[in-house]
Subunit: 343 residues, 2 copies
Amino acid sequence: MLTERQLLILKAIVDDYITNAEPVGSRSVSKRDEVSYSPATIRNEMSDLEELGFLEKPHSSAGRIPSQKGYRYYVDHLLSPSELTKGEMSDIQTVLDSRFNEFEQLIKQSAKVLSSLTSYTSIVLGPEVFESTLKQIQLIPISNNQAVAIIVTDTGHVENQTVQFPGDLKGEELEKVVNILNEKLRGVPLVQLQEKLSAEISSLLKRYVNQYESMIQMLGDVFHTHQSGKVFYGGKTNILAQPEFNNVERVRNILNIFEEDNLVSKLFRSEDRGLTIKIGEENRFEPFDECTIITATYSLDGKHMGTVGILGPTRMEYPRVISIMDYLSKDMTKILTAWHQKK
Amino acid sequence: MLTERQLLILKAIVDDYITNAEPVGSRSVSKRDEVSYSPATIRNEMSDLEELGFLEKPHSSAGRIPSQKGYRYYVDHLLSPSELTKGEMSDIQTVLDSRFNEFEQLIKQSAKVLSSLTSYTSIVLGPEVFESTLKQIQLIPISNNQAVAIIVTDTGHVENQTVQFPGDLKGEELEKVVNILNEKLRGVPLVQLQEKLSAEISSLLKRYVNQYESMIQMLGDVFHTHQSGKVFYGGKTNILAQPEFNNVERVRNILNIFEEDNLVSKLFRSEDRGLTIKIGEENRFEPFDECTIITATYSLDGKHMGTVGILGPTRMEYPRVISIMDYLSKDMTKILTAWHQKK
DNA sequence: GTTAGCACTCTTCATCAGCGAGTGCTAAAT
DNA sequence: ATTTAGCACTCGCTGATGAAGAGTGCTAAC
């Protein structure tokens, strides 16, 4: 168990390092207002904290920097959540309050505010389909071999997509198909659409539609595409401004990850509801060994919808970011709910 | 006017520098097979070429590197276009031949091949709306205040978008609106939709629809969004692998540009049809002072559709990239045409 | 228990010499 | 008149050296 004084010093060191990005020496800790001990005393404590694994020395005559364990302890027990300033709150408010037509717009905006407020990179995962169910499906023919498929979920999310279309389908046939689909699939979770399709629908369609194979194929395409949620980014290059990423190789590794939405989606999707903080190797993904990821979830009617995330260096401004994320995710939930009810 | 020998040497230097990214000395030029002069002779010529502005010295005891003018001359008069290898051609073929439902898929694929073949960053501009006209517009109500707007162009391009919708609109009213729109706007270039809307349509709608203001607003939204073509990227981080961009600050400036599709769209949209090469400051955009942009256009029925572009260092593998771009853009045109006719 | 003092460690920065690559000039060779 | 060999010179790069500075860890005094 750490003593009061050790806590004080650990906190001071983390706070200092977070703002200055440089190893913290005993003297600068001692100079802090909240610390009233001499450098020598601090040195002894620092030595103990190092032995306990909370601090590290880059080399013998530098100051100390927090270890991953140190950050973890700081986050769990030490940090004093910072109040959002009026400006920050109103920034979030204005951006989110602006009228939006689509789910996606809200999400894009969120990603933008988040990155600009934190100056880290923000990742926002769009509605995750696991829990949402189909409310309505539509097929609108556009030319003689194209149609737009529209899917509406119970959460009010709309997806649309252009697809190849069996050439010579009569209007009444199409109507029949759409009717069947709506009848059989309404209320089905999106993730199960695919299997329902092959299990129940395909035989039914066979009876009514000539081109039934290409029809099935097309529907398969449609359902498949909506399996993975979309990913939105804010400030992709913000991370380059951090001194710890002053190295093109390392930066490239990280930026490359952003090119693969699937991967990002997997990495940032959080299983837990609420706020999650993963520090360094806790991410279990080597390129992020020196990064912290903070995620929060937003929801609708208590139903989990998606995740907002921040990627920054382990030396992250935890108090501020946590407050902002908390505020933002709750606000998104609120606005989403209001928006949904309006309909 | 340059002598034969000067041409030979200039070409040799550019070729060498392109592959090795290091200042080229007289000795290494002399060692080339196609060059049969001693280093001393080469040195004299190099000195002349420098005086003429085709070469530069990073410092007095380094070799020479091509100046912007040198690259320009090389591109205009010297380069021997490289034959595509079988592998490259089939790479392009396979990727583009794969079934695609939408315009966008073709374009995304193109961006991907292009960047992976060249290992530079590719930018592909989607259909530019300037020349395409409206073929059909549809409004599909989804909930009591949402609709999906679908726009089909004469080139077979489909765009769709979810929009806010005047709450209590009767089915017949909606139908009326859609009919008016189609009647009045068919054949109108997309860029003019907006003005046509306010000039002619709005008064007409006023007569038939109650919620006419919000209707107009919504249509304005829809038409506005489709003004600017979409931008697709491939290999955004490829540029980081180039030795001349081994500097986080510079890289950041460039990557930031990619975050603003509007800007990119402006920079890469080429006024000329066919292949265009802009070297360094010819781009008239400071962050690209050390970059070359090569663009080519693809079309449909002789009608200009969009642009494929490559961003790399001025030290670019011109012969290869040019061949690839040429081949790809022509192939895109071919496939697009085939696809369009199929319908 | 706390702190002052001090020797010790290690990085950083500037300086300097030596090396090597490359040039530019001159004089010789073709 | 060209071309080339030879050589002095330039300049960046590398590695060694040393002084400065920041910080530690230990000891002894408070």
